[in-house]
Symmetry: C2
Subunit: 421 residues, 2 copies
Amino acid sequence: MAVRGNNSVMNFLNEVAEDYPAAISLAAGRPGNTLFDEIDAESLSRWLATFCGAAPLSSLLQYGRTAGLIHELIACQIANDDGVPARADRIVVTAGCQEALALCLPELCPEASDVLLVRNPCYIGITGAAAGASVALQPLDGNIPGLDAQIESAIAQLAASERRARAIYLVPDFDNPTGEVISLEQRHAILAVCARHHIVVLEDNPYGMFRYEGTPIPPMAALDDTGCVIYFSTYSKTIAPTVRVGAATLPEHLFGDRGASVALYKAIVERKSFVTVNTSQLCQAMVGGLLIERHSSLRSWLSPTLEIYRRNRDVMLMQLAESFPVGGMPVHWNQPEGGFFLCVDVPMRFDGDAVTECATRDGVIVLPMSFFAFDASQDHRIRLAFSAVEPDRIRAGVHGLSRFVARHVGANARRERSLAF
Amino acid sequence: MAVRGNNSVMNFLNEVAEDYPAAISLAAGRPGNTLFDEIDAESLSRWLATFCGAAPLSSLLQYGRTAGLIHELIACQIANDDGVPARADRIVVTAGCQEALALCLPELCPEASDVLLVRNPCYIGITGAAAGASVALQPLDGNIPGLDAQIESAIAQLAASERRARAIYLVPDFDNPTGEVISLEQRHAILAVCARHHIVVLEDNPYGMFRYEGTPIPPMAALDDTGCVIYFSTYSKTIAPTVRVGAATLPEHLFGDRGASVALYKAIVERKSFVTVNTSQLCQAMVGGLLIERHSSLRSWLSPTLEIYRRNRDVMLMQLAESFPVGGMPVHWNQPEGGFFLCVDVPMRFDGDAVTECATRDGVIVLPMSFFAFDASQDHRIRLAFSAVEPDRIRAGVHGLSRFVARHVGANARRERSLAF
């Protein structure tokens, strides 16, 4: 089952952005440039020096360990910042977290009857990776209350055609594209059903450290006592995308089986050796130097960025409230306590043509939720990203969106009136 | 068809190297550390500054163009150094050349009946990438004279089972593992047969710039007038493996079809977006800065390294001649005019056990050619790498090998004698 918006979503968006360079983009889910305020040639050199210590730089320049160089530092950072009890000897350092996902899928779903469960809507990086590895997807039925029940239902449905759910992809904290958080109760319930059916949970956590208020919920990997979670982490959002350093952390025992976990780890490492050989040791060392400087926690490093993202989110929420006042146009949105995105329900079908019209006439680029969806359920929703946009542009962008909506609601109303007469 | 030595060859070798740290390794096909003599924190910073020019470093830190940032510089360098007429808009910059191979194979061989032709023995990076993408391999029959005739024969053989050769992987200059060079005449003949049958030539050229004497032969991509060659290049051997920057360069017209080439390029780029998103822009910028400094040619940059590798090769050849004098043990080797390797025929089966014995008792680690082979034809050969080994250690290593051979030849002779009586 393929996402309806196909895999060229990003190309489409890039083209729209190129064609309408003056338009404000609320589409790109990337870090704000303020994240880079303390990164310059000097700091990069310093991190390298810190990491190397007494060793010469040349020791970083050769080919290196396939599973990576900074696995111990990553284990500490994940433990400190996310509360995940990571073992260094179960960490594969990858060329960005996307590679980690791309390496795991074919190992977990080697047979044609093996299926990856996903939510609907779903991050296009995982649908693309699954397509690349010819891994079949089964979206959960969002109409069934409770993710655990949705998983049970999908298992039963697959069994009818002799297929098996082998893994489920989840972004429990501030999901991309919805911004939603899975509750603690639901996390436990999902873990229980996955343990029972030997379904591996692929927990992708790029946004967990970006909580602006409320009580943090432990990652599923921290709650996992049966060994069913592979934890995916990245430094693209916390340091810079350019480092291309991410990691997959396997459980010590996979469903209670130590040997199975070691075998999976080795298979993933071997697969990596035939894709990227090893992750750039120069990039790893820069990340490693920063982790050493910060005592294996990025909390303090990130706090200025969090302030800015929180402000951006607040500006977006305030502008939404101003542009779409209660009792006016039927537009609704969620209010995530963190992350990069929120989602907005609009009173019209919002497709690729709408993106183009909105960019051309209203000067704002937004992302239709249908691009992430497997059916028509998301056709009236859009994703707005606030992480990398200045407040003035957020206000102007949301205002542009309100013009678009008003024009279409007006047109609909006129059409309805003309039908009535 | 899988290589007999399976895909864990490198793990096996790494384990041997760990278990016998005192043993001299003639197994690793990596650059010598002298390549890194002019790389330090200062030069890395300078290259970054050169590449950025007036632009701030922060412009490199974000996500970037999937197909890469330095494609124009790479096009110039390939044209200058290799004589390949590369178009920047057909270059995909990848996280090392291995990624480029891994991205191309599933695009060229999407069907179960599609086959990749390879030589026997064959570089394990391509057999591993093919296994990872579930692409079937067909080794050429080395007993047939002429690679073009071998290809014709393979095509006929595949046709009998309704399969089709879609691509062939070749390292025409100083092949890994054999060190052999494909003649100009054979290059033309291969291009003709591949053009006729629409077989894409995957020309991997990591060693072409490492010619120590003799007349260079143009890469197949420079001779290709029908658009059947995809050219693979890497900076792992010319700058440093740690940069993890390689590239695939597609022909302007694929078998005369411009649209087909553009479509293949786009498919490869899209696939990359779901594996590594984009190649580290920091790493690309360091490579780019060096290319700018050197006016898009690495010839002068490499000349000190070439001197050292030439010396190493000469030392290895001299020591082989000394350790295995004419009329003594029946040991033979080739004398490549460049590259990192040579191959040696030994008068005994040389397998994994022999590697361990040779490492333990004779203090040298060598690579059995059978690890790269699809049949028993390579069982009496080994690969020796000279690129990264100091002359004294080359001498001691080859001497160790001669002890191993002498012991086994002696044992064979004793066994024969005892059989005779």
